[in-house]
Symmetry: C2
Subunit: 256 residues, 2 copies
């Protein structure tokens, strides 16, 4: 993918904005940005003077690459308003099939960055794993070429694998954050500030950068320490948290 | 606590070994180390020539401070074999009462470092929150003085708060690691290496170093994205994981 390729971004949410920034940082020019509502992309695109449109009818369908960074259910309706021939169409979603682009272009694929993005946080895009898939080998080569200019970690993956990976990511990120939230609630109910838990959270994540989770498992459940678990169960007065405590203790014990 | 104080370590597991290292690194001399089985502490105590004993009868009960770093149920039986008067007795456990030391000495307390320790990993002890509690104000002052020489984060906390904090830590660390484990299993079943999830795990933890978990929550459950959640549920063929998926989705949705 040469740096003169005309790349357009469709949807400027968390993914679209960070991806735009990564493109600009790696010497690409962004041809057009479409977003349903008015945006100022300059925080992410820097000094590049990008053509921003809020009306999809104004999209230049002759650019070379289109990166769709939309909510899953927004993509198909929007595609009906566009007319492509052989442009490389890419979406960035974990759970959407490749074939959502079928009959829209001769070349299409998936560019799925496995990361949690928020506008407030800077992210080193080169460290983000990018999962790629395409409908033909030439599209795949173009896509791999583009992805490898933005990230050091490019993985070819089919749609089924990507769906499972997205599910795994729900546990690794969303449900992990829910654990942090439960910990926060339990601590704050006893006037203990959340900050006291931060070094523990950091070390727990750092451990699995080096080891696999199974080797890193600690705590009363893996030791089958019934005395401690019973004392914890007595402290939990909320039914839902109690159920979660039991179920996860059971999961961990089962893996011993 | 002056640096000539005679400090002894009872139990040289993960906590005892890291605590010994922190003492040595901060200019303290370790008077004695007791451990049930034979150990070589030199990896943690460096060039200090420490008196190591494996028989509790050989414990010099006239040292100034005793740091008990034992499994919860090992402390009380071991205490029956010792004879103290006013020495400062401290345990390092999250869920044990202060009063386990009652009648054993005039001065006692709790020195609870909130961290997950493993022998293989170096840890900056100065960043570990230490929760302290003592039976009188002079013991508490001595304890705070000692703790503040080892860590920049010392919190006074009563036994009830400490028990809830220990429970919170189970969620923040042990159950978080279980989430990593589930993610690993789902990925590996489809020949996806765990390493692809590591940047996501790291960023998820890093986010709550800056924000509170509630503000950092993302994913299909918090968006109440039924389409994605239903597609995930179809992928989960193991009953236990399915139950965990449902229960945590429910917890997150409830917090919207």
């Amino acid at each position: 993918m040469n740096k003169e390729a005309k790349i357009s971004i469709i949807g400027f949410g968390n993914v679209g904005s960070h991806l735009s920034k990564a493109l600009v940082n790696n010497g690409f020019t962004i041809h057009q940005i479409y977003n349903r509502t008015k945006i100022d992309p300059s925080k992410f695109t820097g000094s590049q003077n990008v053509n921003v449109i809020n009306d999809i009818e104004l999209l230049d369908c002759h650019a070379n690459v289109f990166l769709f960074c939309l909510k899953d259910d927004a993509l198909a309706p929007l595609l009906t308003k566009t007319q492509f021939t052989d442009q490389l169409l890419l979406h960035t979603a974990g759970s959407l099939d490749l074939e959502v682009f079928q009959n829209k272009s001769k070349n299409y694929g998936v560019f799925y960055p496995l990361q949690t993005f928020s506008k407030e946080r800077n992210i080193n895009f080169h460290e983000i794993p990018i999962c790629v898939e395409a409908n033909n080998s030439s599209a795949l080569n173009n896509l791999k070429d583009l992805a490898s200019k933005l990230s050091d970690k490019v993985y070819a993956m089919n749609s089924e694998q990507r769906k499972y990976l997205h599910l795994a990511a729900v546990f690794a990120a969303n449900y992990t954050n829910a654990m942090y939230g439960i910990a926060q609630e339990i601590a704050e109910a006893k006037n203990i500030p959340f900050e006291i838990l931060r070094p523990l959270i950091k070390e727990t994540a750092d451990k699995v950068m080096e080891f696999l989770p199974k080797a890193a498992q600690t705590g009363p459940a893996i030791r089958n320490d019934e005395a401690i678990m019973n004392s914890h169960i007595k402290l939990l007065d909320e039914e839902l948290k109690l159920e979660i405590y039991h179920l996860l203790a059971h999961y961990i014990k089962q893996k011993r």
